[in-house]
Each structure stands twice: as structure tokens, then as C-alpha cells.
């Protein structure tokens, strides 16, 4: 199953070679083309992995360099990670298509794509990895490329300051995750996610008796305290990456300062990595919400903390949206709100909650990318980010107008669009778990956010139109190929189309049995191969 490792490897190879090719090839159009081809082929690779996992119905384990799991690094892909990786690769294709409209003949384009492809490699690495320490490396790959992209306009005071803030606190967050990874090794004696997960489920030990006899030696000290420390430290990092309430402070500065396509990547895709890693740690690895796990009794504490920070960001962010004067800053605050809702979704500890969270991640990613890119057209046309000075681009270009309106309606949650169904799923999950105060939070935040979105819709659709949009044929094509597919995606993301995928992903997150058994099987099959081979 080499497609698993081929996707990040291809991205890293292209990302590193782009600046070298720039020494010889000076045509900027060439780099737009190469990046588009690369992202499309990566999307096909991730689609292949997704198809393979859905048809086999078990996670797949890829051994890096052939070393078996507890010794070597593995990529372990289940329905949850495959779904998010495929979706990320898909949305990035449209963002790269939009980048031609935005950058045009900008001489920094090769470096821009080098960092953007690096960020995609980091994202896919985070989703695919089955190793706690490899997750740290991939978080840093994602981090460094994103800091660089935020500071793309290096002569802008705002961008450099925002990037410094993001990079500095990102470095501290990375260090805390490093401590969590080292503590995991000290407590469990290995760093493979499936094996650590196996340790936390004492009941599963009967299935792999001989395997545990020599692994049990490593567990020392107060294991519950160690796990509480690990989960707390790593959640600090993941909430930082996701931009959720106490660690959101960098987000409203960094997202608007970046180039518009990068704002779409950061707000739509990068924040999801934090939510995914939280789900992976809480559900699969330490099984805080799994009754089979020996840490199940920790679930009330994490549930209270996570639903509090989620609810706090869902209520606080829309209030901040109402007082913003900068359009991109307003959209960035809306990201904090939506990630808050995602965190409340999986804080419940039910399969329905995880499913609703994942659904909301999908609809939010498409809606937020579309909103950033279409509002970016208005920002470019009016040469300012002040909401009151935005020109009504929607009256000249109906595609942009429709994109702004549809993405805002989807983010608010109006019926025929994806955002309605995901918010409805969240609502159902809250009711099922008996958390009525969270349904109130959901309704209040949606109502407040509606007022915020109308501040964007009003000038772009009903204000004074600009004199002309002076776009070339190719730039126009770039705009259509990026906005229209995302628009259609928002319309087709309803339960009829994604129900099966979401069910598989949520089931894979909540029931860790297959994830663990595939990792252990990979080890056992390696031992058998060695014993059967002539040299062994």
C-alpha cells in the first residue's frame, strides 16, 4: 500500500525542488502549473487510499523502511484519517487554482508554492501517521510552513508581527507536545499509537497474551497521573493549532495578515489538524471516552474542560465578529466559533458527537475556504480590508456574489446547504447526550454570527460596484475553477452523500479495536516473516 507514503513524499519532493527549478526556469506560470498538477495527483493518491480502506473495512499499516511497529515508524490510516486527508487534498486543489488569480506574475510564487505544498505534506502527515513522535515532527513541518506563509508579505509590519506571534507561541506549543511524547515513551515504553492504545485497554490483553509479557515491564509509576499529564499537555498544543478559546489569541492576527489563499488554507484546513489530533488522542490512543480503557474514569474531567472551552469560543467569537472593521479579521473570528462547536461536539464522548464534529469540520472547511476566497476578490477590487469601503463586486461578477452569499448561509446553517445539516447533527448529538445548555450555545452563537455575516454580505452584494474588474481570461478561468466546485460542494454535502463515510469514520474513532489489532497484527506478521525466512 505505497500510496499512503507516496502522497506526503511527493509533496515534500516537489516542495524542495521548486526553488531549485526557479534558478533555471523563470516563467512563473510554470510553477502554477506544476503545483496544480502535484496537488491533483496527491488528491488522486489520497482518494485511492480512501477507496482501499472503505472497501477493505480495516485500517492499513504502512511500515516505514520495513521496520515493524513498536521499533519503526508506521503510517496507520483508518476511515477517520483517510476521510480528512482526502478532503484536505481536495480543498487544496481549489485553493491552488485560486492562487493563480491572486498571485498572477508575483516573483515570489515558487517560494509560496514551496511552503504551501510543505504545509499540505504536514497536514497529510498528521492525518496518516501512526506514531506519537512522528506526529510532533509533522506538527512542526505544518507549523514552520504556516509561519512562513503568514510572513509572505515580509515588508508588511502587520504580517511580520503576526507571524512572529504565531511562530513564537507555536514553538512553545510544540515543546509542550514534545514533553507529552517523551512522557508517553517513559510511561508506555513505545511511541506507536496502536500499541499505546493497546496498553490502555486491559481487557484486550487476553487476545495478545504473549505479546504483553515482555511489553508490560516498561510501565512505571502512577500511570493515571502520567496519562492525565500527557493528554493535558498535548491538548494544549492541539487547541493552539485549532485556535480554540484560551489559545486563540494568535489566530485573528495571523489569518488576515496572510495572502488570501493562505487565509483559506489556515482557516479551512490547518485548524482541523488540531481537532483531528484531539479526537485521535482522546478516543483512540488513551481511550478517555472508551469504557474498555483503564482511563475511562478521567472522561468527566476532560468532558467538562473541552465543552467549556468549546462553548466559550462559540459564544465569545461571534461577539468579537460584531465589532470588527476588517473583513478578513471578521472571518477569522468566525473560524474560532466553528472550531469551538467542533470541540463541543466531540467532548460529549458519543459516536453521534464525533460524527457531528467531523461533519461540521467538512462543511466548515468548504464554507470558510469559499468565503475567504470570494471576499478576497472584493478586497482586491476595493484595495482595502475595511468592511465599509468594500466595493460591490457581487453586482459585476455574479459568481463571486453567489459564493459570498452561499458560503455565509452555509456557515450560519440555512437549510439546503451543508452547514445546516452539520449544525443539525450537532444539535441532535447534544440532545442525545442530554446537554441542553450546549444546544442553547449553538443557537446563540449561530444567531450572533448571522449578524456578523450580514456585515460582509451587505457591502459585497448591495453596495456601490467598482468601475471594472480588469481580469484576463486566464485569471477569470482560475476564479471559476476554484469558486464553483466549492460552491457545488457546499450544496452536495448533505447526509445522503456523506452519511456512510461519516459513520465509518466516527465508528473507527470511537471503537479503537480494529486500529489496535491492525498495529499488533503488523508486528506479528513481521515476526512470522522473519521466522519463516531462510536466514532467520
Amino acid at each position: 500500500m505505497h500510496s499512503v507514503s507516496a502522497a506526503p513524499a511527493l509533496l515534500v519532493a516537489v516542495a524542495f525542488s521548486l526553488p531549485l527549478i526557479y534558478l533555471k526556469v523563470r516563467s512563473v506560470k510554470f510553477f502554477h502549473g506544476v503545483s496544480l498538477v502535484t496537488t491533483v495527483s496527491v488528491f488522486l493518491l489520497t482518494l485511492h487510499v480512501q477507496h482501499y480502506i472503505i472497501s477493505r473495512e480495516t485500517p492499513i499499516v504502512y511500515r516505514m523502511g520495513g521496520w515493524p511497529p513498536p521499533l519503526g515508524i508506521v503510517y496507520e490510516v483508518d476511515a477517520l484519517s483517510a476521510l480528512l486527508a482526502t478532503y484536505t487534498a481536495l480543498v487544496i486543489v481549489f485553493i491552488v487554482a485560486y492562487s493563480y488569480w491572486y498571485l498572477g506574475e508575483d516573483p515570489g510564487t515558487p517560494y509560496y508554492y514551496s511552503l504551501l505544498l510543505g504545509a499540505e505534506a504536514g497536514l497529510l502527515g498528521i492525518y496518516y501517521t501512526g506514531d506519537v513522535f512522528n506526529l510532533f515532527v509533522m506538527l512542526e513541518v505544518l507549523g514552520i510552513t504556516c509561519y512562513g506563509l503568514v510572513a509572505y508579505y515580509r515588508s508588511s509590519r502587520e504580517a511580520v508581527e503576526a507571524s512572529f506571534k504565531y511562530a513564537f507561541f507555536g514553538a512553545i506549543a510544540g515543546l509542550l507536545y514534545f514533553v507529552a511524547a517523551v512522557t508517553t515513551y517513559a510511561s508506555f515504553g513505545n511511541l506507536t499509537m496502536g500499541f499505546v492504545a493497546a496498553h490502555t485497554r486491559p481487557l484486550l490483553r487476553h487476545s495478545y497474551q504473549y505479546f504483553y509479557q515482555f511489553i508490560d515491564v516498561f510501565t512505571w509509576g502512577n500511570i493515571t497521573g502520567a496519562v492525565a499529564v500527557i493528554v493535558a499537555l498535548s491538548l494544549w498544543t492541539f487547541t493552539f493549532k485549532a485556535g480554540v478559546f484560551p489559545n486563540h489569541f494568535w489566530l485573528p492576527d495571523a489569518h488576515p495578515a496572510a495572502p488570501t489563499p493562505i487565509s483559506a488554507v489556515l482557516s479551512g484546513l490547518v485548524v482541523n489538524a488540531g481537532a483531528y489530533a484531539s479526537i485521535r488522542f482522546l478516543y483512540t490512543i488513551f481511550g478517555v471516552y472508551d469504557p474498555l480503557s483503564q482511563f475511562y474514569h478521567l472522561s468527566p474531567y476532560f468532558s467538562v474542560v473541552l465543552s467549556f472551552i468549546g462553548a466559550a469560543s462559540a459564544v465569545f467569537a461571534p461577539i468579537m465578529m460584531l465589532i470588527q472593521r476588517d473583513v478578513k479579521r471578521l472571518i477569522a473570528y468566525s473560524t474560532i466559533m466553528h472550531l469551538g462547536l467542533v470541540f463541543t461536539g466531540f467532548s460529549l464522548g458519543t459516536a453521534l458527537g464525533v460524527k457531528a464534529s467531523l461533519y461540521h469540520i467538512l462543511t466548515h472547511a468548504a464554507g470558510k475556504a469559499l468565503l475567504f476566497m470570494s471576499a478576497g476578490v472584493a478586497v482586491e477590487a476595493s484595495k482595502t480590508r475595511r468592511i465599509t469601503d468594500l466595493k460591490a463586486v457581487g453586482r459585476l461578477n455574479p459568481l463571486v456574489g453567489a459564493s459570498v452569499a452561499i458560503s455565509c448561509f452555509s456557515l450560519v446553517g440555512l437549510p439546503p446547504l451543508g452547514g445546516f445539516f452539520s449544525k443539525f447533527a450537532l444539535y441532535q448529538a447534544f440532545i442525545e447526550a442530554g446537554r441542553f445548555e450546549l444546544t442553547a450555545v449553538l443557537l446563540i452563537s449561530s444567531g450572533l454570527a448571522l449578524l456578523g455575516y450580514f456585515k460582509i454580505i451587505q457591502p459585497i452584494l448591495f453596495g456601490f460596484p467598482p468601475s471594472d474588474l480588469n481580469t484576463s481570461k486566464l485569471r477569470e478561468l482560475s476564479l471559476w475553477t476554484s469558486l464553483l466546485p466549492l460552491l457545488l460542494l457546499l450544496i452536495v454535502l448533505n447526509p445522503i452523500t456523506v452519511e456512510v463515510l461519516l459513520n465509518e469514520a466516527a465508528e473507527s474513532a470511537v471503537l479503537a479495536g480494529k486500529y489496535i489489532s491492525q498495529a499488533v497484527e503488523s508486528y506479528i506478521s513481521y515476526i512470522r516473516e522473519v521466522q519463516l525466512s531462510p536466514g532467520g
Binding site: 507549523g143 514552520i144 509561519y147 515580509r154 515588508s155 509590519r157 511580520v160 508581527e161 515543546l175 517523551v182
Partner: protein, 131 residues
């Protein structure tokens, strides 16, 4: 008797050193207004956590994790496994050092660019100038 006392003493000393250095560097990150000093504090914090990782895999009076003769006898392997330090945290630290190098270099270049644009590296002044 004296060996175990020395062992305890060294381990306790290292552990308290790590905790104290982490606290001091966090204090520096929070309270120092100078961006340069913030970055210095951050590198100290990073090195502290690297020492913590080494410390977790360490044994006092141990041998390096290099097996010199591979004759496959069980006794030799057992003495090796019970006396050698754990090499994996060292590999983790090596990776973390390289990543830390990249992040710190990037931060230093950003600080240089900030100095060019703002004319100062005092974070309070920068906040005022940004408005």
C-alpha cells in the same frame, strides 16, 4: 551504599535542575519585554526539555548503547540490555534539536525583519506602533 547515595543525589539534582530551568525560562518568556531575550528564553526552554528526554532514558553508571561483539550469546545480550542507556530518547532529542534549530532560525530572521520595520525590538513599543 555510597553508590546508591551518589546515584540518588545525581538523579535528584538533575530533576530539580530541569524543573528550575524550565520555570526560569518560562518566567523569561513571559516577563522580558525584549524580543531577543524572549527568543533566548525559548531556546533555554527547548534545551531543558531535551535534557528531560535524555534523563528519562538515562541510567547512572551505564555503558553507551553500542553492542561491540555480535556472537549472539544470551548472557552478553542480557548484561548489555540491563546496563546500557536507552538510545531512543537520544534519537528523539536529535530530531527535536534539528526542528528547534529551524524554528529558532526562523524566529531570529523574523526578529531581524521586525527590527528593520519597527526600528525597535521592545515588544511593548511594537504593540504601540502596530496600533
Amino acid at each position: 551504599m555510597s553508590t546508591s547515595f551518589l546515584e540518588n543525589f545525581l538523579i535528584t539534582l538533575t530533576l530539580y535542575n530541569i524543573l528550575a530551568t524550565a520555570g526560569i525560562s518560562l518566567y523569561g518568556i513571559v516577563t522580558r519585554p525584549s524580543v531577543t531575550k524572549k527568543i533566548i528564553s525559548l531556546t533555554i526552554l527547548g534545551d531543558t526539555f531535551n535534557v528531560l528526554a535524555i534523563f528519562i532514558g538515562f541510567r547512572v553508571f551505564s555503558v553507551p548503547p553500542v553492542l561491540l561483539d555480535l556472537d549472539g550469546s544470551v548472557e552478553k545480550l542480557t548484561t548489555f540490555a540491563t546496563s546500557a542507556v536507552d538510545p531512543l530518547p537520544q534519537a528523539l532529542v536529535l530530531t527535536a534539536i534539528v526542528i528547534g534549530l529551524a524554528v529558532n532560525l526562523f524566529l531570529i530572521f523574523l526578529a531581524l525583519q521586525m527590527y528593520r520595520l519597527y526600528g525597535t525590538l521592545d515588544s511593548r513599543r511594537i504593540r504601540e506602533l502596530r496600533g
